[in-house]
């Protein structure tokens, strides 16, 4: 069985400062990796390398994916001047049959006609997470997905990700908070 993502001796440095060195891992279908590390240890950079947004300085990365990566980074890719409904329409998930259930769970079902700029940071994060919940991908990459989320929403996210693992999807995420997700740990603080 081929791994969905295989990283071999990945290294990255900014100018002469090494962020991480010789990182290797394999991410199989139905498995998750929790990337940990101090601030500035290169967690976001590593996730961006896997997404193909950034090039590694050294090493190789192989991806065997049938579908597009579902990525949620620090930026939500939402438009502040549009309503929640218009943003969901832009994300192409407005007609998804499961949307209503997630909106009710996040207590956003009554906020569809509200401008995104009127919502709190946490509520905006929940709208961005809907793209992850309604994904059609075999690799989910999340960069600090719990920032701004209340405990109830964090638990809902964990339950969802555990369900996705059972569907043989692969998950890579970075988080300072310990999440109840069955995952391997990859600590970047020990890698320089």
């Amino acid at each position: 069985m081929h791994p969905k993502v295989k990283a071999t001796n990945l290294s990255y440095k900014i100018n002469e400062k090494k962020l991480f060195q010789n990182i290797s891992f394999e991410l199989m279908a139905g498995k998750a990796i929790h990337i940990q590390g101090d601030n500035g240890s290169g967690k976001t950079t590593l996730l961006k390398i896997i997404c193909g947004l950034t090039n590694q300085v050294k090493g190789e990365i192989e991806k065997k994916l049938d579908k597009q990566i579902c990525f949620l980074g620090h930026k939500n890719a939402l438009k502040q001047y549009l309503t929640v409904e218009e943003n969901l329409s832009l994300l192409n998930i407005i007609n998804h049959p499961d949307l209503k259930q997630h909106l009710i769970e996040f207590k956003l079902d009554k906020s569809l006609d509200i401008n995104l700029s009127s919502l709190s940071f946490g509520q905006q994060k929940k709208i961005a997470l809907l793209r992850v919940f309604l994904n059609n991908s075999d690799l989910i990459i999340l960069d600090e997905p719990c920032v701004g989320l209340d405990n109830q929403s964090q638990n809902y996210l964990c339950r969802f990700l555990n369900k996705e693992l059972k569907l043989e999807k692969s998950i890579l995420f970075s988080s300072h908070i310990s999440l109840d997700i069955n995952s391997e740990k990859l600590n970047l603080s020990n890698q320089v």
Partner: protein, 215 residues
């Protein structure tokens, strides 16, 4: 189709993005005759110089944040990792801008031409030139904006401005040909040739620039 819907919805909701440049264009064209003597019979002669410069400036204004907003909110990251090719997304984005800003300005420019020169023939002949020129301008200024995406858009557009000077010379020659009832189709063909190259080349170059900014 989704990317077209995406861009149309965005621009339609942000009326400042498309209505602003059109209003600035109208303002320049209305203000122009006020600055010269009313009795000036040569108003029509200087009209075209003002028209081209006005379109140039307005297109510069229109493309000011063509990529900046998507860059800041993370939409460009999503485009870059999507299965749809980035040059295609950029080409669509530029096309939508032209459709909502370039086409209305071309129509209004033709109407002003009719008003200033009293020649319906000239107004009709100038319309395709305006359409092609506005599309070329939007493409080139988009390239400039992509260049200086993280450093303020003015710098990049100023760098690309000299690229358009030869085009202004061609436009001047085309107008002279129309005025003298000479065959001006050669100039239209030349403009179309330029457009057909940059319409493919510029989205491709911009995609590389954007990927570099995203790193």
């Amino acid at each position: 189709m989704n990317i077209i819907k995406f861009e149309l919805l965005k621009l339609r909701s942000k009326s400042r993005g498309w209505l602003g440049p059109i209003l600035v264009f109208i303002l320049i064209m209305v203000a122009f005759p006020l600055t010269v003597e009313i009795s000036n019979k040569d108003l029509g002669n200087s009209f075209f110089a003002v028209l081209w410069i006005a379109i140039l400036l307005v297109m510069m204004l229109a493309t000011e944040d063509i990529f900046l907003e998507d860059f800041n909110d993370g939409s460009l990251e999503q485009f870059a990792i999507s299965n749809i090719s980035l040059p295609y997304i950029i080409a669509v984005k530029i096309f939508i801008y032209w459709l909502l800003i370039g086409v209305p300005i071309s129509i209004i420019g033709s109407l002003f031409c009719l008003g200033f020169t009293n020649s319906s023939n000239l107004a009709i002949n100038i319309f395709p030139i305006l359409l092609i020129t506005s599309y070329i301008f939007i493409n080139v200024f988009s390239f400039g904006n992509a260049l200086s995406l993280t450093k303020g858009s003015v710098l990049g557009t100023l760098v690309t401005l000299p690229l358009l000077l030869p085009l202004l010379i061609v436009l001047g020659k085309a107008v002279i040909s129309i005025n003298l009832n000479l065959n001006y189709l050669g100039f239209v063909a030349l403009l179309l040739g330029v457009l057909s190259i940059i319409i493919f080349l510029i989205p491709l170059i911009i995609s590389y620039i954007i990927r570099a900014h995203l790193e």
